[in-house]
């Protein structure tokens, strides 16, 4: 894209958001909204500056992102090999499909009560919720990915001299990758929501906790600031990491996404 074109599209993207900000402040000023119902922009800005200055915001963000990172990495590390192994024999994959679907629709938030019972309130329970949101969805997708690779591609590799290990690295893994990436994107979506919910219930640090505590004191400016931070973090994660990854595999290779 030409530089001016790019600049223009960025401007078009941010103009409506700016308009929204103006509308927000105008509504607050004109109707003289009680700050306990909804804060003005300056109050939110002030809340952001203070919480950055005293380090609490960074602390909450750090706690939340650490949980996401740990849960996701463990989840992917276990689910990808397991899911792929389940998909190698088509008959086995067909047999296991209902089980995997059952557990992937249950993944995430529904595990919060039992997770807090198993691990107590805190890091363990929340990380477990994220882990299992990622685990079941990615394992299911990895299985689906491997089992839907056309048999002729495996035949082609074998007739060109590929052994089992080479077939795994050259055919099964890249062939299942689009599904795995899609699974990670979906699973992280569930995990992110599970994180916020779990942090409201089961901890004393993290973005969800920050929001829920602010509610106790009617600090709407902290709540709104937290919501914006949550939105921005997810946008960054999704647009800068997950979506490009999905595009690079699914679209470039011309592989149709299989659900």
């Amino acid at each position: 894209m030409r530089p001016e074109g790019r600049l223009k599209s960025i401007a078009y993207f941010f103009a409506p958001l700016l308009a929204l900000l103006v509308l927000w402040q105008a509504t607050i000023t004109v109707f003289d909204v009680n700050p306990r119902v909804f804060p003005g922009i300056s109050a939110v800005w002030h809340a952001a500056v203070t919480s950055i200055a005293d380090g609490t915001l960074i602390q909450h963000i750090g706690a939340s992102l650490t949980r996401v990172a740990v849960g996701t990495v463990i989840g992917i590390a276990i689910s990808v090999p397991l899911g792929m192994a389940m998909g190698v024999l088509p008959a086995v994959a067909t047999f296991l499909t209902p089980l995997m679907r059952f557990f992937s629709v249950l993944a995430g938030i529904a595990w919060i009560p039992i997770a807090t019972l198993w691990f107590g309130y805190g890091f363990g329970a929340i990380t477990f919720v994220i882990f299992n949101a990622v685990f079941f969805v990615v394992a299911y997708n990895a299985m689906l990915g491997v089992s839907t690779i056309p048999m002729r591609l495996r035949y082609a590799a074998a007739s060109l001299g590929a052994g089992p290990w080479r077939t795994l690295t050259e055919v099964l893994l890249p062939g299942a990758l689009p599904n795995i990436v899609t699974g990670i994107r979906t699973g992280l979506g569930f995990a992110w929501r599970g994180l916020i919910a779990a942090e409201m219930i089961a901890t004393n640090v993290g973005l969800g906790y920050m929001l829920f505590m602010a509610r106790d004191f009617y600090r709407t400016e902290v709540i709104v600031m937290g919501m914006i931070v949550i939105g921005l973090l997810w946008l960054l994660l999704d647009r800068l990491l997950l979506a490009p990854l999905e595009r690079a595999t699914v679209e470039r290779w011309g592989m149709v996404e299989r659900t």
Partner: protein
Amino acid sequence: MRSLTIRDLSKTYFDAYAGSHVDAVRGVSLEVTQGEFVSLVGPSGCGKTTILNMIAGFIPCSGGEIRLDGRAIHGPGPDRGVVFQSFALFPWKTVLDNVGFGPKMRGVPKAERDRTAREYLELVGLAHAADRYPNELSGGMQQRVGVARALANNPEVLLMDEPFASVDAQTRMTLQEELTRIWQERRPTIIFITHDVSEAVFLANRVIVLSKGQILDEVDIALPRPRVWDKLHEDAAFKSLSGKVLQLVRSA
């Protein structure tokens, strides 16, 4: 003299849904010498693809044996290159990496296998498309890559399973002419499966007609090479050979 020997080959399927056994191939014997171009022709369901899959080692045979150069074959291997009807190119690899796949499996260093791959892409007239992905190519171009990929691995036999069935008519004729040219240049042993009688006659030195899992008859094709459609279309010998094979296929 290397050769492919098939003796008394048979294949029985167990059909899980029907709950019964099906005889797909019954007592097929065949000898293919090095550098020969053999076509297997027959209506769908005659067992021709099953035979090819057994030679390739994709499916085990129920009876008889297949020997290549004296050795019995076990499973798929790089000594038998396969060109698939639906191309079977790896969508996540560029054209160059698809063609270089076989050498990569043999541990050939990157620079050398790229050189080999380019040489074979040149042979099929696709040198300019080396860095593209398969889904960016037309069907005819994809199958050229499929042929280059199989040849680049230097197989003793090239097995082709209705490779030109899913491209349009004009492209198919071009591909057929190119294949006869490549065969003349390099003299690979080719077993070519098709249901198209004129394709079988146009390409091969010998046409084998299959019916209901058995060999019905075979016809030697002593037409001169190079073969091009413009000449053969009106050629009396080609017409009479095609007519003969067609009669056999229709009597099947």
